[in-house]
Each structure stands twice: as structure tokens, then as C-alpha cells.
Symmetry: C2
DNA sequence: CGCTAATCTAGAACAAGTTTCAGACTGGGT
DNA sequence: ACCCAGTCTGAAACTTGTTCTAGATTAGCG
């Protein structure tokens, strides 16, 4: 791959946000991908602390300044990594959706599947989740994207129902809260895997409160 | 206050953890208190970022090394601050407990009261909550203390019932998860106050599932 | 009082996130 | 082919959390 491609001058004369709105060139897309991959690799090795901006830049073969142009902070970088991983997960889940008849059980099943994925790469999970909850207002847009992705995954699991009711959305939000927070307690060693499962199953009962009648 | 007090050589020859087990001398107690007060003040001003270890040390009138002897990291410091504030809150709540007949409503009421306290000092809340969720394993003991305090507050609100059932404990844990996570979404500007209220009320319904019969 | 261990202080030193800058490179428009 | 705006690079600088060191203080104890 040793020839030239195009590289336009500037979409907004500022940065290179993740927005799919800006048409990145091949090279830029490739750089972005290399950065995310390097991040995931370092994170898998040693968690949040092991993701050092200088090392990410070196591993991805870009200058430090470039890394910061693509991701304005370490938290942005890790949240973007989480977006990436979540999308992957969403794809996997779509292929083999949960089979249980009860929507609440399907959601619990789905989240436990996601949880098992986390267990396979606990360091990576640590880095992404810590970044997510540590994120301040300057990252809210990106965090929101992650949140929407999670919501989509849960709604998918709930079933083919059309537009969810406001009550259902509240329940989903609470489930998400529990999911994130339970994950944190597990990652920081204050809760066991069994405990996380119980918490997830407990909160999923809320779904039954909002869908007494089954389709 | 210009005379001498006692200051023993060493309880454990290591550090000065928060454990009430070690009998700190008056002076040490005073230092600890000054540090916590300085922290709360700085945090109230500008949140997590405004709590800079050098500034805390200067405001408290201790050397940087001493600050680190009392609190081995910024996160430890802020989690200890949260312990402090929670204890205060617990005291306040004990004096005027919620009046509603329904346990679930009492819990929701209590949490909303706590939430209003947070709204009064959003920056302080930001600093404490961010520290709490960012804490890694090295702080798990202290975070656990905060968690137990929160649990105690919720159980208090649930009523004078004796030993809570395992189911109730699960529900309380989920409520705690929701509480923390909802707080974060509010602090990072991704959820409105109204939304937080709804989430809290939603999750509190779980209590009704575990206490169908009222005392 | 004088001894000794532990504590506290002041300040330097170090680590990692972030910013900045000068210069090389790219690619589209003329 | 030349020009220009915009991008990337390499390296230094700056910030703030954390660690380290040498010396002054303090406190328990004979």
C-alpha cells in the first residue's frame, strides 16, 4: 500500500470529530482505525492506566498531536473505543438474538451475554467503563451516543414491539443505570459476578411491570 | 489555641488511614478536619478539577507530603469527603424522616431530598461522585464504606422493619446503582432534574415488588 | 532534661495528560 | 508546474497528581 490517496484540506477547519457527517479520506479513516485498535490493545493489556497517549500514538504510528486532533482527550478516545466495541457487540447480538419468551428474561440474557464479553477482556472493560463514567460535559455528546447504542441493544432484546411507551423507556433507562453501575462495582472488585447477575435480573423485573400483557 | 497537645509516634509505622480504629491525636484530628474542609470548599467552587492537591494542602495549612500521608490519593481524599458529607446528610434525614405511608414513596422522597442537597452544591457533588465512580481497587474499602452508608440511608427510609430480606437487599442495591448513575448523567448534563426524579421513582417501584404487604 | 522514633515541612523530582510550535507534506485549484 | 490551505510530524513545554529527600518538630519515655 505505497501510493497516494486524497486528503482534503478541511471540513470545518478545526478538528476531526467522530461524526459520520465528515467524509474522512481513506488515509484518515485508516489512521482513526489504527488509533482505535492500538487503544483497544493497550487497554486489554493493562486497563485505563495502560492507555498512555504517547504509547497509543506510537503504536498507531501517528504523532501525538495528530492523536489529539482525532480524539481531543484520553476520555474521548476511550469513549470512542467503547462505541466501536458496542457496535461490534450489537452486530453479534443481532445474529443470535435471545430466545426466551419473556421480554424481561431476554433483556437479562442479553446483558449477561454482554457481561461475559466484558469478562473475557476485563482490562479493556475497565478502561472503557471508567472513561465513560469519568467523562465530563465536554464528552457528553459522545457518551450520549454510547447511551443510545446501549438503549438500542436493550430495546432489541425486548422484542419487535413498535414504539416503546414512556414507561418502558424509563425502565430501560433504569436498566442502563444498573448495568453501568453494577459493572463498575464488579470491575473495582466490590461485587461478584453472581451479584451482578442478581442485580441485572432484579432490575429486569421492571420490564414486567410495564408489559403485563405479552404480544 | 496555642499550646501543646500529644502526638504519638506511630500506630502502625505506616500511614494515617481513616479507620476510627487508630486513635488520632487532637492535632491530627484537627489537621484531618482542616483538610476535608478545604477539600469541600475547593470542590464547591469548581468541582473535581478545582480540587488540586497543592491547593488543598496550602488551604489546609499542611505540607503536600502530609496531605498524602492522610489521604493516599486525590480519589481517596474525595471519597473521604463524600463519607463526611453523607454522614452529615444521614444525621439531617434522621431528624425529619419522610412521612409517606408507602415505603417505596418514602425511599423516593429521601433520595429526592438528597438530590436537592446535591443541587445546592453541584460542583461538590460532581467532585465526589466522579471520584467515587473513578475509584479503582485501591480505594474499594473506602468506597464500600460510602456504599454501606447509602444503604443504611435507604433502609432507614424503607421503615422500621427488622432484618431486610435478600430480595429487598437486591432491590436496595439496584436503587443505589440507579441513584449513582442517574446522578452522573445529571452532573454531566445528559439528563434533566425531572428525568432523574422519574428514574428514581421508577426504580423505587421495585420495593413494592418485595413488600406487597404493609406493616 | 535528654533520647529516639515518628511526624511534619519545604521543596525538588518524576510521570503522564495536554498544549504549542516550527517545519515538512499533501492535494486540489489555477 | 505552482500556490495555498490544511494536515501531519517531532519535539519541547506546561500542568497537575504523585513520590522522594533532608532537615526541623513533636511526643512518649526514662
Amino acid at each position: 500500500m505505497g501510493h497516494m490517496t486524497t486528503e482534503p484540506k478541511s471540513p470545518t477547519a478545526r478538528a476531526v470529530p467522530a461524526g459520520p457527517s465528515l467524509p474522512l479520506t481513506e488515509r484518515q479513516e485508516a489512521r482513526r482505525r489504527r488509533i482505535l485498535q492500538a487503544t483497544a490493545e493497550l487497554a486489554s493489556r493493562g486497563g485505563f492506566d495502560a492507555v498512555q497517549m504517547r504509547e497509543v500514538a506510537e503504536a498507531a504510528g501517528v504523532a501525538l498531536g495528530t492523536l489529539y486532533r482525532y480524539f481531543p482527550s484520553k476520555v474521548h478516545l476511550l469513549v470512542a473505543t467503547m462505541q466501536d466495541q458496542l457496535q461490534r457487540l450489537h452486530g453479534t447480538l443481532r445474529k443470535r438474538p435471545p430466545t426466551d419468551a419473556d421480554p424481561a428474561a431476554r433483556v437479562a440474557q442479553t446483558l449477561m451475554r454482554a457481561f461475559r464479553a466484558m469478562q473475557r477482556e476485563p482490562h479493556l472493560a475497565d478502561a472503557m467503563v471508567r472513561a465513560l463514567t469519568f467523562a465530563d460535559r465536554s464528552v457528553s455528546a459522545e457518551v450520549d451516543t454510547v447511551s443510545r447504542l446501549t438503549t438500542a441493544i436493550i430495546l432489541d432484546a425486548m422484542g419487535p414491539a413498535g414504539p416503546p411507551s414512556p414507561e418502558q423507556l424509563s425502565a430501560v433507562r433504569v436498566i442502563e443505570h444498573t448495568w453501568h453501575s453494577a459493572l463498575i462495582t464488579w470491575l473495582s472488585g466490590r461485587a461478584s459476578i453472581a451479584q451482578v447477575r442478581i442485580d441485572i435480573e432484579t432490575v429486569c423485573r421492571l420490564i414486567r411491570l410495564t408489559t403485563p400483557q405479552q404480544a
